[in-house]
Amino acid sequence: MNKSSFDPTNAVCGGFFILVGALFAWQSLQVELGTWLRIGPGGMPLALSLLLILLGAIILLSALRDVGEPIGAIAWRGILFITLAPIIFGLTVRGLGFVGAVLITSLFASFASLRMTPLRALALSAALTVFSTAVFSYGLGLPFARFGPWLR
């Protein structure tokens, strides 16, 4: 691992906490802060946001004095396919219905791994769709339409 003159992971981390703290502080100021006697909806969030900014600053400052390793490999392909899977399910479950949503989500998530071949993905998704429909829709009786308006 090549070392840097500062710790990049912690620098990003400190910056991230400062940013999030600032965002929440801004949001807290949109509602009433209240007094000590009657703390308003913004009181505690503002106090916590300021604390978060302080902690972020401590992490950032100590990162600048530290030696560290770079962040390392990031699962870009995984991020794309895995995190989009629930979104796709959410976008299709009403329109396509349960069966279609499961099939598409499964097909999509299959490609998160480099080792999956299209044929295997199809077979897996088909099996998973049959299984899920049997268990969740017929077995547990979840109240989702099996086939949605897009297919009618």
Binding site: P41, G72, S113, F136
Partner: protein, 502 residues
């Protein structure tokens, strides 16, 4: 005699055909997912959480959830022993000697030892819960809003002290969790706040979506980083039954581990992990053959495994009596209770005795089911370890999506899963533990509500926290713990403790 009456009620509740059935399903499902490499107990429970909501009855649902917990833990130990891939830090200790035993052809004995140790520890810890829960509940009922606040602060500080890695980062994660817990509608004024204009998120961020995202999805992403073939040890698991000599050697470590785990598990903060590490160190020290440790010592499996299980069990005590989660799993249990309409805290025992005692009785039943089920089924779990990873991701993602959507039928919950999955992975890359965040998230609304109530009761005088003796004592404890954690000597030692597992 009240105790026996309560226990009878508990066993009557837990041993109905339906509840044993749910406990069994929970244990099986928990083991099934928990045995998958790289997926720890918390991730397993987070992924299976939505399924338990399909059961209408809160008692059955929590019993199943507890079953999932024991199953997931046992599954984690199995993976640690067979392929040296601990899913969670607590089973990391088991992996040290367990994996070596497996390589020496004693995988069966190691698995049986883990199961027996867990069962003994689970039984003792259940008895302890029965003895300690009622008096603690009585004390907790005397707590006012100020005491509750201080108690929660202690709980959060302890979780920070026992988190891995940097203390400052852990505190920041707690604060972030508290903030996320406050997003949505303010309970007291009804004002909607911190939602960045996204009113679709509803009254509160969805707990299930956060848990599934932070623990489930983030965990999968981390596993996808490195798709090298795992070194899978597929030595045949033979000779399950430990010999008489083995039994003789495991008795003392199991008992010591149980005692240690029970004591540390009660503390807020994740005592079970600490107990496993401490037990390993102690066994190594008292052993007459210390050179065996690291090369497949039976005591190195029996002790930590018992300590871990005892600690896991007694961590139910603060959860059930005070409503304070000791670890992320307990945070999940509390979240599940709230979703089921039960307000966790000292009132649960009085208002809902069937749930309270039924859950306790089901712990013992769950442990019993584990030992009679899992030893014969070990062949099946071993087969499961061979299922290629790329087949598992889509299956898990589909089940998570269905599960989360089934809770509220809100599409935005699915978007939250994606968001928190990404956030969780990002935080993992920044070497921030997600556990303190989840604790903060669960405690956020409770902390705020009690803080505001305490201020109203004290007529706006913030010194109420240090003038009330119990509250002052608790805050002092929190300060002492923080100071200790930041002491240079302890800091160094703490780093050493957590490095051993790497």
């Amino acid at each position: 005699m009240d105790l026996l009456g309560n226990l009878a009620l508990g066993f009557a509740t837990a041993s109905t055909f339906v509840n044993i059935g749910f406990c069994l399903i929970g244990v099986l499902l928990g083991t099934l997912i928990g045995v998958l490499p790289g997926i720890g107990a918390t991730a397993t429970i987070a992924m299976l959480l939505p399924i338990t909501f399909q059961i209408g009855d809160p008692v059955s649902s929590l019993i199943m959830l507890a079953g999932i917990y024991y199953g997931a833990q046992y599954g984690g130990s199995t993976t640690a022993i067979l392929i040296n891939m601990p899913g969670e830090s607590s089973s990391a200790v088991t992996a040290i000697d367990g994996y070596q035993m497996a390589r020496n052809g004693r995988a069966g004995v190691a698995l049986a030892t883990a199961a027996i140790g867990s069962f003994v520890a689970g039984t003792v810890a259940t008895v302890l819960i029965v003895l300690f829960a009622p008096p603690l509940t009585a004390v907790a009922l005397k707590f006012g809003a100020a005491e509750y606040c201080s108690l929660m602060v202690v709980g959060l500080v302890m979780s920070v002290a026992l988190a891995h890695g940097s203390v400052v980062k852990a505190i920041a994660m707690v604060v972030l969790g508290l903030l996320l817990g406050l997003v949505g509608q303010d309970v007291i004024s009804g004002a909607s706040r911190l939602n960045f204009g996204l009113t679709q998120l509803g009254d509160q961020l969805n707990f299930v979506a956060i848990a599934v995202g932070l623990f489930g999805v983030a965990e999968i992403l981390r596993n996808l980083e490195d798709e090298r073939t795992r070194e899978v040890l597929m030595a045949k698991v033979t000779g399950l039954m430990p010999s008489r000599e083995d039994f003789r050697r495991m008795v003392a470590p199991i008992l010591r581990g149980t005692a240690l785990g029970s004591a540390l598990g009660i503390l807020p903060g994740n005592g079970a992990v600490l107990a496993a590490f401490a037990s390993y160190t102690i066994e190594k020290r008292v052993s007459d053959r210390p050179q065996e440790f690291g090369r497949g010592a039976l005591a190195g499996v029996a002790g930590p495994e018992s300590a871990n299980n005892a600690g896991a069990q007694t961590s139910f005590i603060p959860m059930l009596t005070l409503g304070i989660p000791a670890n992320p799993v307990m945070a999940l249990m509390i979240g599940a209770m709230i979703i089921q309409g039960i307000i966790p805290g000292p009132n649960v025992a009085a208002e809902n005795p069937a749930l309270f005692w039924g859950l306790i009785a089901s712990m013992w039943i769950g442990n019993l089911l584990l030992i009679i089920l899992n030893l014969p089924l070990i062949g099946l779990w071993v087969k499961l370890l061979k299922v290629p990873y790329y087949l598992l991701f889509p299956i898990i993602m589909v089940f998570c999506s269905i599960g989360v959507y089934s809770v509220n039928s809100n599409v935005w919950d699915l978007f939250s899963v994606a968001f928190f999955g990404l956030l969780g992975y990002f935080l993992l890359k920044l070497r921030c533990e997600p556990a303190p965040l989840l604790l903060g998230f669960v405690l956020g609304p409770l902390l705020e509500e009690n803080l505001r109530r305490a201020m109203i009761l004290s007529r706006g005088d913030p010194t109420t926290f240090i003038t009330r003796p119990i509250s002052a004592g608790l805050l002092l404890l929190a300060v002492v713990v923080l100071v200790i954690v930041f002491l240079p000597a302890v800091r160094k030692k703490r780093e050493e403790v957590f490095i051993e597992e790497e």
